[in-house]
């Protein structure tokens, strides 16, 4: 899993509430296990004209000019700012895979759906929950200029606004520790497999 320590990037605003995983990555791409290719079909139905059925077809598809992912001014943005309850719906882990394959490293919202939140943490994608006021400030900033850069510091669990003030965000300590080291949670646990088994044997009732 990719390490996450500190990220400075411009913000791409996509202010829609309840963006479900069918919008992030349609079900027809679930047979894909090549995570990298999924970046080309992130937000597929919002991003291209017509129905794109395969990753290869996305190369030939016509991008919708009014969708923000196709706006060259936001190219290279690694932070996605979204509406409430992001990632609701299906459990598909293809959603964070598609986001990270496209280049996003963090998603900021006022709330996330539970399964998406956990899937993101396990794939090096940082879900950042902020209060409504901070969210509105960030939106103003992202819409005023595409040159506004935001810093997310996982070590201090804070978002640093360009004005200098820092806003903290919550994250589970174990998930944070794994992200800071770039170690996946399962790999970390399995590295203690022998000790865990020995402990369980020793304490068996």
């Amino acid at each position: 899993m990719a390490q996450f320590t500190k990220l400075t990037s411009k913000i791409m605003p996509l202010l829609v509430d309840n963006i479900d995983t069918d919008q992030i990555i349609p079900a027809r791409f679930l047979k894909v296990t090549d995570k990298e290719g999924l970046g080309k079909v992130l937000f597929c139905d919002w991003r291209y004209e017509g129905t794109v059925s395969t990753i290869d077809a996305a190369e030939q598809a016509t991008p919708k000019a009014d969708f923000i992912l196709n706006n060259p001014r936001y190219e290279g943005a690694q932070i996605l700012l979204v509406g409430d309850n992001f990632g609701c719906g299906s459990s598909r882990e293809h959603a964070p895979w598609a986001l990270t394959a496209h280049g996003f490293r963090a998603v900021i919202s006022t709330s996330f759906a539970d399964i998406f939140y956990n899937n993101a943490l396990k794939n090096g994608l940082l879900p950042v929950v902020v209060d409504a006021e901070t969210h509105a400030d960030l939106l103003d900033m992202a819409e005023e200029t595409t040159e506004a850069f935001l810093t997310i510091d996982l070590e201090s669990q804070s978002v640093e606004l360009p004005g200098g003030q820092a806003v903290s965000f919550p994250i589970d300590a174990f998930a944070r520790s794994c992200l800071l080291r770039g170690v996946d949670q399962l790999g970390y646990l399995l590295s203690f497999d022998e000790q865990i088994t020995a402990y369980e044997e020793a304490t068996r009732v």
Binding site: N18, D84, S111, D193
Partner: protein
């Protein structure tokens, strides 16, 4: 202080008293993987984590239901990968045609009162219908359990849904599920357990409808206390019972008296209205299927309305039974014959067209009325198609007219 059902189940599994908000490490009783995500779970476990064997094959169940039978070479190859994995690891598998995971695990009594049943499918909240702690997870989380036998869960707080009254004619469990969407919204129970009370009289099939849709409220689990028909078919552990002084985060009250048939508008599950507000809208595809509403009782309700009548010539009416067993029940008493005589199209049991990958994928501008659980834009096919959600009775009445129709008017 009393505990909610989720707190009792997680306390029992953890071997100590647990409180909402705590993290607990548990050994789930059952961990289900379906054909759509099993290949990615295997890949994560074997290739990314280098773990060749699952910790406990008896804990795992595989199903083939999402695209069954397969529609493309890629899907067929993925399913063969799952079959080889099941054989090599000694894991139980329910193959093409047996039915939707959530139905099969309940029919086979693999999901039971008091058990923790996790699955690679978000609708794993369905196991709450038999009083289990059922919840969905992503591929990495599932791979973690297959590899270690264990997982950690945050103990959810519980929202109590208190139901009173009784369904009127033409109104049923799906209307209650949609009413809860309307009152609580799609994010109304994020990471909470929803516990449904006042439904001891409700048959298992109706409980499955409710629990399957708990995830559409954002819930971690959706539990109906295991009483009535559920307690009759499956032993309830003596440590699992409703404790009157349990603490709930809040209570939502719903009165079934006077409840109209409910319909969810495209493209949001919680955009729900009384049928009188939308009656007359044209549709061209009707889908009676999914883990939410494709059991015998659902097919029977549709057949009662369609008996002696014909599906409108401008409409395709596709029936995908939830499982082989429920299809056999519907065949045994003539329910299927009634549906077929009316012009229904019958498919292999499974998830069918719910996620738009086969057996009726919607084309551009198609308008579908589905008995399923999600109507997100493009879910069932073309991005320009749209989906209404409603009960099997509304689906049958609408199939006759080609317009959204109140079943009480037929």
């Amino acid at each position: 202080m009393g505990r909610t059902l989720s707190e009792q189940i997680l306390s029992h599994a953890a071997g100590r008293e647990v409180q909402p908000g705590e993290l607990v490490i548990v050994r789930p009783d059952v961990v289900m993987g379906h054909d759509s995500l099993t290949p990615s779970i295997i890949q994560i476990m074997k290739e990314e984590l280098g773990k060749e064997r699952v910790a406990d094959p008896d804990q795992i169940v595989l199903t083939v239901d999402h695209v069954a039978p397969p529609s493309t070479v890629g899907v067929a190859n993925n399913q063969n990968t799952s079959r080889r994995f099941a054989r090599e690891q000694g894991i139980r598998m329910f193959d093409v045609g047996r039915g939707i995971c959530h139905q099969v695990l309940i029919e086979e009594q693999i999901a039971r009162p008091g058990r923790i049943v996790l699955g690679s499918d978000s609708h794993s909240t369905s196991y709450g219908a038999v009083g289990a702690f059922g919840s969905g997870m992503g591929s990495t989380d599932i791979a973690l359990i297959w590899a270690t036998g264990r997982t950690w869960l945050r103990v959810p707080e519980t929202i109590k849904v208190q139901v009173s009254g009784a369904f009127g004619p033409g109104v049923g469990p799906k209307d209650l599920a949609l009413k809860l969407e309307r009152d609580m919204t799609i994010a109304g129970a994020t990471y909470a357990a929803v516990e449904y009370h006042g439904l001891d009289w409700l048959p298992l099939s109706g409980r499955q409808t409710l629990s399957s849709m708990a995830v559409e409220l954002g819930a971690k689990v959706g539990i109906v206390p295991p009483s009535g028909e559920v307690a009759d078919r499956c032993p309830v552990p003596d440590w699992l019972r409703v404790e009157p002084d349990a603490t709930y985060a809040r209570t939502v009250e719903v009165d079934l008296d006077g409840l109209e048939p409910q319909v969810a508008f495209p493209h949001a599950v919680d955009n729900v209205v009384d049928i009188s507000e939308i009656a007359g809208a044209e549709v061209n595809v009707i889908f009676l299927g999914t883990c939410t509403n494709a059991r015998y009782e659902d097919m029977r309700a549709a057949a009662d309305i369609l008996n002696g009548k014909q599906v409108n010539e401008d409409v395709r009416f596709i029936v995908t039974p939830v499982s082989s067993r429920e299809m056999q029940r519907a065949a045994a008493d003539g329910t299927l014959a009634t549906l077929l005589a009316a012009g229904a199209v019958l498919t292999t049991p499974g998830c069918g067209m719910c996620m738009g990958r086969h057996l009726g994928t919607l084309g551009d501008d198609d308008v579908c009325l589905s008995t399923g659980n999600r109507n997100f834009k493009g879910r069932m096919g073309a991005p320009t198609s749209s989906i209404y959600l409603a009960s099997p009775s509304v689906a049958a009445a609408t199939a006759i007219t080609g317009r959204i129709t109140d079943p009480r008017d037929i």
